[in-house]
């Protein structure tokens, strides 16, 4: 098989749109495993979708958009990878082909994520104006329309990639120089740093920085798992506030 008609690309594009919005909502729909299974169902090779989705999900353990950081978009990668991989079905190496497409796609999508996150700034500025004019309807509209760049940044690439099919997608990926892919992949590892910095900037660091240091020591020097650090955090926080409170009331 060399390509899909128009229907399957449209369906998958819409799913890509919907899943990212549901993810913003807090549901876990933009999960590589879920999207892989759904894509597999749509293109008729559910097992392939499960394999690709599971692989990507395992790659994403511990990753999150901390503080609004960008991470590799394994969801989009999973959809496109499964769809392209299924085309190679006959040759029985669909899994290799699929992953070879899915992983670079996940990384490349970081660029579109950044774009989407930046472009939505327009909506909040418009909302400012509507507030000034007391136009509540306008405020509502700005908020609800805010999702469009988010959805399109996923829907369009999925539609295009699935519609164009294996050969052009592969060509695009092959065309990327090695240094570019390497840099993108490194960026994927580094970008959570921004999120953490944003999180920290929301806290009263001046007052509480030693606790950041304590957490670091527990992990960096004592190799404590996060669960242990969380428990220690609770114990220390309670003791600290008890002493302060008790002392202040004494």
């Amino acid at each position: 098989m060399d390509g899909y008609g128009i229907l399957i690309p449209i369906i998958l594009g819409i799913w890509a749109y919907i899943s990212i919005i549901a993810q913003l909502t807090g549901l876990w729909w933009a999960e590589a495993l879920i999207s892989g299974a759904i894509t597999g169902l749509v293109v008729g090779d559910i097992n392939l979708g499960l394999q690709i989705g599971a692989t990507l999900t395992l790659m994403s353990l511990g990753m999150w958009t901390y503080g609004g950081a960008t991470m590799p978009d394994f969801n989009t990668g999973s959809i496109i990878g499964t769809a392209i991989g299924a085309l190679a079905g006959a040759q029985a190496n669909s899994l290799e082909v699929g992953l070879a497409v899915a992983i670079p796609t996940s990384i490349l999508m970081t660029q579109l994520d950044v774009l989407a996150r930046a472009s939505t700034t327009g909506f909040i500025h418009a909302a400012d104006k509507h507030v000034e004019n007391g136009n509540l309807k306008g405020v509502t509209k700005m908020h609800l329309l805010g999702q469009i760049p988010w959805g399109l940044s996923r829907g369009i690439p999925v539609f295009l990639a699935v519609w164009l099919g294996a050969a052009p997608v592969q060509k695009v990926i092959d065309w990327m120089p090695q240094w570019f892919m390497g840099g993108m992949s490194l960026a994927g590892k580094i970008l959570p740093a921004l999120g953490f910095a944003l999180l920290l900037s929301q806290m009263d660091m001046k007052k509480y920085w030693p606790f950041l240091l304590i957490g670091y020591i527990l992990f960096g020097y004592l190799n404590m798992p996060i669960m242990g650090i969380a428990l220690a955090g609770i114990a220390i926080a309670i003791v600290y506030t008890n002493i302060k409170g008790g002392a202040a009331n004494a």
């Binding site: 939505t120 909302a127 329309l145 740093a193 944003l198 240091l213 404590m224 220390i236």
Partner: protein, 275 residues
């Protein structure tokens, strides 16, 4: 503690409307500049309309709630609930300060609970089911997401009721302050361990090859820079990158610009073989 002034008491229907707006759309208009600010405003809007009716008071309240806001989505209803309870009491300032006080710590705590404790356990089980060919994998992860999402409802009422309980008291003091403090401390300790744990894959591959000559014998010895750095300070590179980003934020650089800086850094260090 009976409220002296019951006339502002908002009926449950409006409260639920607020909750559902936060629950389902909080991040729809997410953007780098003020993140979830507009989402929060839209969520609390029915309440503001009910309290301030219209005119300047309403405008002012709306502006207040368009300030920067960002937290973990599941934790947001907790803040929303507390914020609403304080608005009910026409205490807009307390409503703002509880937002600012709690959003950071709860972002840290919520993100960690989910991304490192809850999701990985689910994800590993689900992935191994899926790899074994079972469709239970994606279904498990799907249901777990719904379960997690479901936490928003009780958290909203918790925030709303607890906050109401203190209103008779000195607002912003006492329990609110203590809660913020506990959340801040626990949050920072967790983040402190979390940063090096998540970023631990950022390492330098640099090696120094040294030719040591003792009594005529020339021996080649490779010293890995990463090993030396680890002795100096474990996870030095990730910490330095987070430190740089934090410093740039404090210098009022916008997140998009910092992102570009980090991208540039990635490409350059990758090409040079430094990272």
């Amino acid at each position: 503690m009976p409220k002296e002034n019951e006339k502002n008491k908002i009926d449950k229907r409006i409260l639920k409307k607020s909750l559902y707006r936060d629950m389902f759309t909080l991040q729809w208009s997410w953007n780098y500049e003020r993140m979830q600010a507009l989402g929060f405003l839209w969520a609390i809007l029915p309440v503001l309309q009910r309290i301030y009716k219209k005119g300047d008071k309403l405008k002012e309240a709306m502006k207040r709630h368009l300030h920067f806001y960002n937290t973990n989505p599941v934790m947001s209803p907790l803040i929303l609930g507390a914020s609403i309870a304080l608005e009910e009491d026409k205490n807009g300032d307390a409503s703002s300060s509880i937002k600012v006080g709690l959003m950071g710590p709860l972002a840290g705590i919520g993100d960690t609970l989910m991304a490192v404790l809850y999701r990985p356990i689910i994800a590993v089980i689900a992935a191994s089911l899926a790899m074994g060919g079972s469709s239970l994998g994606p279904i498990l992860i799907f249901l777990s997401g719904i379960l997690w999402m479901g936490l928003k409802v009780p958290l909203f009422w918790l925030g709303y009721n607890k906050s109401t309980a203190l209103i008779g008291d000195v607002i912003g003091d006492g329990i609110v302050k203590k809660a913020t403090e506990i959340a801040s401390i626990a949050g920072l300790i967790v983040i402190g361990g979390f940063i090096p744990s998540i970023l631990s894959r950022v390492k330098t591959p640099l090696k120094f090859v040294k030719t040591v000559t003792i009594k005529g014998e020339a021996v080649e010895k490779a010293v890995e820079l990463q090993g030396i750095l680890d002795k100096l300070l474990p996870h030095l590179i990730p910490i330095a990158i987070v430190g740089l980003s934090y410093w740039l934020i404090k210098r009022k650089l916008s997140p998009v610009k910092i992102l570009l800086v980090l991208l540039a850094l990635s490409f350059i260090t990758n090409i040079l073989g430094i990272l």
